[in-house]
């Protein structure tokens, strides 16, 4: 007898009920499953890098019990990683700087139509994406210039990037022409205009091509395999593959080494994600 009265005193409020969000729940389930495929290999790598060899062979996937940084110090010293890291930084920094500086002075006149056949010039960069790989003649060129197995020869291979050029040209087209006119009126010279007016204005595009180009150099494996035989000149990717050849079964050591190669890229990616993704999708979604 009491139950109905209580119900009457506190009537159930009927909110406009939302349907259960099935779509979202299913979406999350799928996303989490896929995410596991991305997190698990990474987790395995980090976990293995802290294990001793014996511990790893007993059970490669058990969570590590005590953190063991020896693998890192070992890889750093035994595998000459400090040297490789310095090489990688030199190659990426010098080649990217040369590429960006020379390219701005190609991209600006093409974007503005300042030189005859600007359209044709741009086409030369676009078709590069479909042409046969330059691998063989490039090797003959480097060999015959006598810069095989030198830093200079290796850096030369990375001072051009057609996709980067196209990104720069497209971005410069969005800078209003009135700017050129007023600068010229004020008596500003061409070099100074491009260098100290245009360059700061196209910073987002420059950031994008700089990061994409540097990442490409950092990750390159085939060209150091072909062009560098002197271990003193190896970049870190090549060093890692050599390390794998020598200590192939030392997975904890290899895992530590892989993580050391990965960390700089990880930081760069997290800082510059907007520019990287923006650059890679620019032009891809317009008609």
């Amino acid at each position: 007898m009491t139950a109905p009265t209580i119900e009457k005193e506190t009537p159930v409020i009927h909110e406009p009920s939302k349907p259960f969000p099935w779509l979202k729940v299913i979406s999350y389930v799928i996303l989490v499953v896929v995410a596991i495929l991305y997190i698990a290999p990474l987790f395995m790598l980090v976990n293995a890098s802290f294990k001793s060899l014996a511990e790893f062979f007993k059970d490669p996937i058990s969570p590590v019990s005590d953190l063991n940084f020896e693998n890192y110090t070992n890889a750093w010293e035994r595998a000459n990683f400090s040297r490789y890291m310095v090489n990688s930084v030199i190659y990426a920094a010098v080649a990217t700087a040369v590429f960006v500086i020379t390219s701005v002075f190609v991209a600006f006149p093409i974007a503005r139509g300042l030189v005859k056949g600007s359209g044709a010039l741009l086409t030369l960069y676009v078709v590069a994406l479909f042409l046969p790989p330059a691998l063989i003649p490039q090797f003959q060129l480097i060999l015959n210039l006598g810069v095989y197995n030198t830093r200079l020869g290796y850096i030369m291979l990375f001072v051009v990037n057609p996709i980067g050029m196209i990104i720069l040209v497209n971005y410069i087209k969005s800078i209003p022409r009135e700017l050129d006119e007023s600068a010229a009126m004020d008596g500003c010279g061409y070099f100074r205009f491009v260098w100290s007016v245009v360059l700061p204005l196209i910073r987002p595009a420059v950031a994008t091509v700089t990061v994409l180009h540097a990442i490409g150099i950092w990750n390159e494996l085939i060209l150091p395999t072909i062009y560098l035989t002197n271990a003193e000149l190896y970049p870190i990717t090549r060093g890692l593959i050599v390390f794998e050849g020598q200590y192939g079964s030392d997975w904890p050591g290899l895992a530590a080494a892989v993580l050391m190669l990965m960390l700089p890229m990880l930081f760069l990616f997290i800082l510059m994600q907007r520019y990287i993704i923006g650059g890679l999708t620019a032009g891809a979604v317009k008609g």
Partner: protein, 314 residues
């Protein structure tokens, strides 16, 4: 081509000053011709020679002999044709799966979900890590004895040697890693495309009572055309040219090689023999074969997407 200044567009002074843009353009453009464009074209020339990797060694003109050898001569040519077929299979599987998965993930992440930035970043991450890290990470992940995938397969009673197994099995795992590594870029291109679609189109259709599938079929799919075209072409061309994960994951192993790997291995003595020669002319011919394949399939795909675009966007 003579590079010359267009006077009417140039505002920064007459006389010798009007040549400044040309002088400043030459270093960048010259390097491009010397290092990328020129060598690319020269591949065709080298394919008709017996060039080696020795500096100063005589280079002889041998006509189409390299092509004849590559495509028609003896047992080795049968392996080359097999590599060509394998390249097509690899490209077909990678393109279809990566395209569909990338589209699916983009659709999921285009909703208002908590953590969507996290998921997007995570799926894109391998793209910037490069083949060495991608490959070594998966070698560890696919460890045959006691590795995580091996353990999970064990629960279902499946035994596998993974990358060290039969050629066809190893080949399949490379496809898996290739897709895992690159689906992120397909996804972000689709996402960027979806963000350009006008939300009002969906609102109007919803008022008319359209549901999920109808919204996708009649709005998202046609409106996504530019991103679909880009991804389709990029996936086809990219997968035809991809081979570096094979190098890191399984090395030069019979029954798994694709054309790109064959070019590198022949040209730079990486075929596994003790003193394998640098067969640069031969590798150049193989490069041209791959180029023709890319061109034919790329142009067909381009024709196909253009026809589709006309249908949807007029």
């Amino acid at each position: 081509m003579a590079v010359e200044v267009v006077k009417k567009n140039y505002l920064f002074g007459g006389g010798w000053k009007s040549w400044t843009p040309v002088f400043l353009l030459l270093p960048g453009f010259g390097l491009y011709l010397l290092i990328a464009f020129g060598p690319s074209l020269a591949t065709a020339g080298y394919s008709l020679t017996d060039a080696t990797g020795v500096r100063g060694a005589p280079v002889n003109w041998i006509g189409f002999d390299n092509y004849d050898e590559f495509l028609f001569r003896g047992l080795a040519s049968r392996d080359n044709i097999a590599a060509l077929n394998r390249t097509l299979i690899f490209s077909f599987l990678v393109t279809t799966v990566q395209f569909s998965l990338g589209l699916g993930l983009a659709l999921l992440l285009n909703q208002r979900l908590k953590g969507r930035t996290f998921f997007r970043t995570l799926f894109f991450l391998p793209v910037i890590l490069g083949v060495v890290i991608q490959g070594l990470m998966w070698k560890l992940f696919l460890l045959p004895n006691g590795g995580p995938v091996s353990e999970v397969f064990g629960l279902f009673g499946i035994q596998s040697e993974f990358l060290g197994g039969q050629p066809s099995e190893a080949f399949l795992w490379v496809i898996v890693v290739q897709i895992w590594a690159n689906v992120g870029i397909t996804m972000v291109i689709f996402l960027a495309g979806m963000q350009t679609i006008d939300e009002d189109l969906y609102e109007a259709a919803r008022i008319d009572g359209a549901g999920g599938w109808n919204l996708f079929r009649n709005i998202t799919w046609p409106q996504l055309t530019p991103a679909i075209n880009t991804n389709f072409l990029l996936n086809i061309i990219g997968s035809l040219q991809a081979w570096q994960l094979f190098l890191v994951l399984i090395g030069y192993k019979n029954g798994t090689q694709v054309l790109g790997y064959e070019i590198f291995a022949q040209g730079f003595g990486q075929t596994g023999g003790v003193s394998a020669a640098f067969r640069q002319g031969f590798a150049a011919a193989a490069s041209i074969v791959l180029f023709v394949l890319v061109l034919v399939l790329g142009l067909s795909a381009n024709w196909f997407v253009n026809r589709r675009e006309k249908k949807y966007l007029g």
